[in-house]
Amino acid sequence: MNGIKFAAKRLLRLILTLFIITTIIFFVIRVIPGDPALIIGGVDASPADLEAIRARLGTDRPLSTQYVEFLWSILHLDFGHSMISNEPVISLILQRFPLTLTLAVLGLLIGILIAIPLGVLSAVKRWSGWDYLGLVFSQLGMAIPSFWLGILLLLILAIRFPIFPLFGADSFAGLVLPALSLGIARAAIILRHTRASMIEELSKEYIIAARAKGLPESFIRYKHALKNALLPIITITGIEFGYMLGGAIIVEQVFSLPGLGRLFLYAIYQRDFPLIQGGVVFIAIIFSVVNFVADMLYSIVNPKIRLE
């Protein structure tokens, strides 16, 4: 019951958020310089041809009319058609979502698989060889730009040793290197948080009490400390996951992948208003869902936290 109330509250908040950001984005993209008719017509189109294109796109009408019409169609869950390609915005987004989702899940898995064991190890054996390895890894992982890591991975594992394809997402193999370069960057961030959170938990009084009680050290670390340390890790992982679901522009660019990031990037370049608006709504929903799931996980990991 509590869960339903919580979900309903969240949904209301999401709708309000969507209304505010779509309104802002609607006007911002129309105020900045740029005209989709010029993208279609190019430098050689005559003024009369440009007028005809604007009439077809509907951008020749007053902004207020366009805005009311936009709100009306959003209420009907109609995101319209891309101005540049004339394809439905929904299908453009849904075509690319499976790839982006797969990539984000793989990237996150790789990130967690590297970060949590290494982070815990770093915290438990502070200033040991493991800890230094963890610190160096996270420092490098955050400092190395992902496009550079991506190109490096391609040069070594697709060119020098042609194990993986150089481009394309036709097979699972094509996703390994992009997931790796996404995952390493995530791992670096999650590792830092894991280590810090774990160190904090291990210095708390209940750990001393548990030790005094004579519990085995591994039980204390993994059953008690890790479970409590997970909360901030879930938060940061959720945020990172949300970002990846919005598309990983740089990684998609380097690995020639048709993901959401490139779709939205070109939509902005080309001032494809309906597609930008659809993309913003989509990303906002994704973030809300991810946050919702993260909150649910809180209460599972720590039943003391109630959903309100």
């Binding site: 009439a55 060119i159 097979s171």
Partner: protein, 498 residues
């Protein structure tokens, strides 16, 4: 914890197998590296070069340019123009079939031209066809066009990508040509995974006997330049159109790659906003021209080229050389700037940031102008902003850009002398260009264009940098990959992989 390594091993093995299975393609398949995703595959709803480069294989036009740029028969086996230039008669081929099995007739030509002329289509090229007053089809293999006034450039428009002939039945049913092209071309559309790949297969019933030779063409969309180059070097890409001069050494040393150097049809310029003080002063524009060593800009920024002297590509049949007018002479530039009293005014070069070569050229010219005492800064803008604010809005002092080539000089020159983005007005130039469009005799047209181009060369609303080379890279076993002159589209009809 002990279980984890096992998973890693399986993971690794699976990937090795999956990797090995990839790229098992037939030898008749050519993989072409395309730098971006076309906006649409509808030839009448865009002006995007990428679209025309891809749809060239799906569609044919009534007439087409041959390898020298001369317009020759294609779907029309012959044509004639009445002495007054108002009636154009096309005789069509009888052996042409659309990809959907429909026979090609004059109805398709009429339906296509009506589609372009329909305002609802909103074709960006509609203005090139508006002098067509009436389209008649006296029999299935004859089309007669009646014009409101003589207009020689119409032939070039019919030969360009936007003149592609579509099947009348599908036009009538509102078929989505943007997603699923159907034409008479050498290859049939198979699949388009947006932002990833466009696949096409041979049209076995193509009207040119024995062509095309390839069984498949795959356009692989690879946005990252470094990956394109590595793909060509490693063999996963068979051909690339535009190789950055910086990447040439890697490819030239590779025995499996052949690099062909060709003159493009680009007109590279630094345009000046002549409505702005002090660029409205001819002496200042002349000074800017004297200050710039065009050959250096071409060599360093664009990988070489032929220096220009007026507003036409240097390889064009209508081009006349006026390069003796403003040779590189920084001393003279300084003197002219002093005479004009330019003083401390700061100038801005606005450049579209998505064209790294133009940005490099702008940086070089900034240095050259600084050397003669001008204060110049560079402003990078995105392409949409360039189109609306710089090109259409006139918010610039200088801008660096390349105008793409056209089959007919009217496509390049129409409107100049009457403002355009350089805001330069000269009624003689305007009327000569208009007059030339009505004349069909080559020598008479050339005379008119030369007179207009000479004034443009003297009055310098631009710095005419010239025309650059293009480096086309193919695997060494790829033969006869052609690019259509002036249109820069890809022609795979004669291409083979040996």
């Amino acid at each position: 914890m002990r279980k984890v390594p096992k998973h890693y091993v399986f993971f690794g093995l699976f990937m090795l197998m999956a990797g090995g299975l990839l790229f098992a393609q037939g030898s008749g398949t050519l993989v072409f590296g395309l730098a971006g995703n076309p906006d649409t595959l509808d030839p009448q709803k865009t002006s995007g070069t990428l679209t025309f480069q891809v749809v060239k294989s799906f569609y044919d036009t009534l007439v087409e340019p041959d390898t020298s740029g001369k317009i020759v028969p294609a779907l029309a086996e012959s044509w004639s123009v009445s002495p007054d230039g108002l009636t154009w008669t096309f005789r069509l081929r009888r052996d042409v079939v659309f990809h959907n099995g429909q026979q090609f007739t004059s109805r398709d030509v009429a339906a296509t031209l009506n589609r372009i002329l329909d305002e609802k289509t909103a074709s960006p090229k509609r203005s090139e066809f508006t002098m067509i007053q009436e389209i008649r089809t006296p029999d299935p293999y004859t089309v007669v066009l009646s014009l409101s006034q003589p207009y020689a450039p119409l032939l070039a428009s019919l030969a360009s990508g936007w003149g592609a002939i579509l099947p009348s039945s599908l036009i009538a049913s509102g078929h989505n040509f943007g997603a699923e092209p159907v034409g008479t071309g050498p290859f049939k559309f198979e699949r388009w995974i947006r932002d990833s790949r466009i696949s096409m297969v041979r049209n076995d019933r193509y009207w040119m006997k024995g062509l095309p030779k390839l069984t498949r063409v795959e356009f692989q969309i690879v946005p990252e330049q470094a990956v394109q180059v590595q793909g060509l070097a490693a063999g996963s890409i068979h051909a690339l159109e535009f190789i950055d001069p910086d990447d040439l050494p890697i490819l030239q040393s590779n025995p499996n790659v052949t690099i062909k150097k060709e003159l493009t049809s680009l007109i590279l310029v630094m345009a000046m906003n002549t409505s702005r003080e002090p660029l409205s002063d001819l002496r200042v524009r002349q000074a800017v021209n004297y200050a710039i060593d065009k050959q250096v800009v071409l060599d360093v920024a664009y990988g070489g080229g032929k220096v220009g002297s007026t507003f036409l590509d240097t390889g064009n049949a209508y081009y006349t050389d006026f390069s003796s007018l403003y040779p590189y002479n920084p001393e003279k530039a300084k003197q002219l700037l002093k005479d004009a009293g330019v003083g401390n005014r700061e100038f801005t070069i606005s450049v579209p940031q998505n064209y790294p070569l133009h940005v490099k050229a702008a940086e070089l010219m900034q240095q050259m102008l600084t050397n003669v005492g001008m204060k110049v800064k560079i402003q990078l803008v995105d392409w949409s902003t360039w189109l609306s604010s710089v090109y259409s809005g006139g918010n610039f002092d200088f801008t660096v850009i390349g105008h793409t080539g056209k089959l007919d000089p009217d496509g390049t020159l129409a409107g100049y002398g009457a403002g355009k983005y350089v805001k330069w007005y000269n009624s003689t130039v305007e009327s000569k260009i208009k007059e030339a469009a009505k004349v069909s005799d080559f020598a008479a047209r050339k005379k008119l264009y030369t007179e207009a181009l000479e004034i443009m060369a003297k009055e310098v609303p631009f710095v005419y940098l010239g025309t650059s080379y293009r480096y086309v890279g193919t695997r060494s076993n790829v033969v006869d990959f052609r690019m259509t002159p002036n249109l820069d589209t890809y022609d795979f009809r004669w291409t083979e992989i040996r």
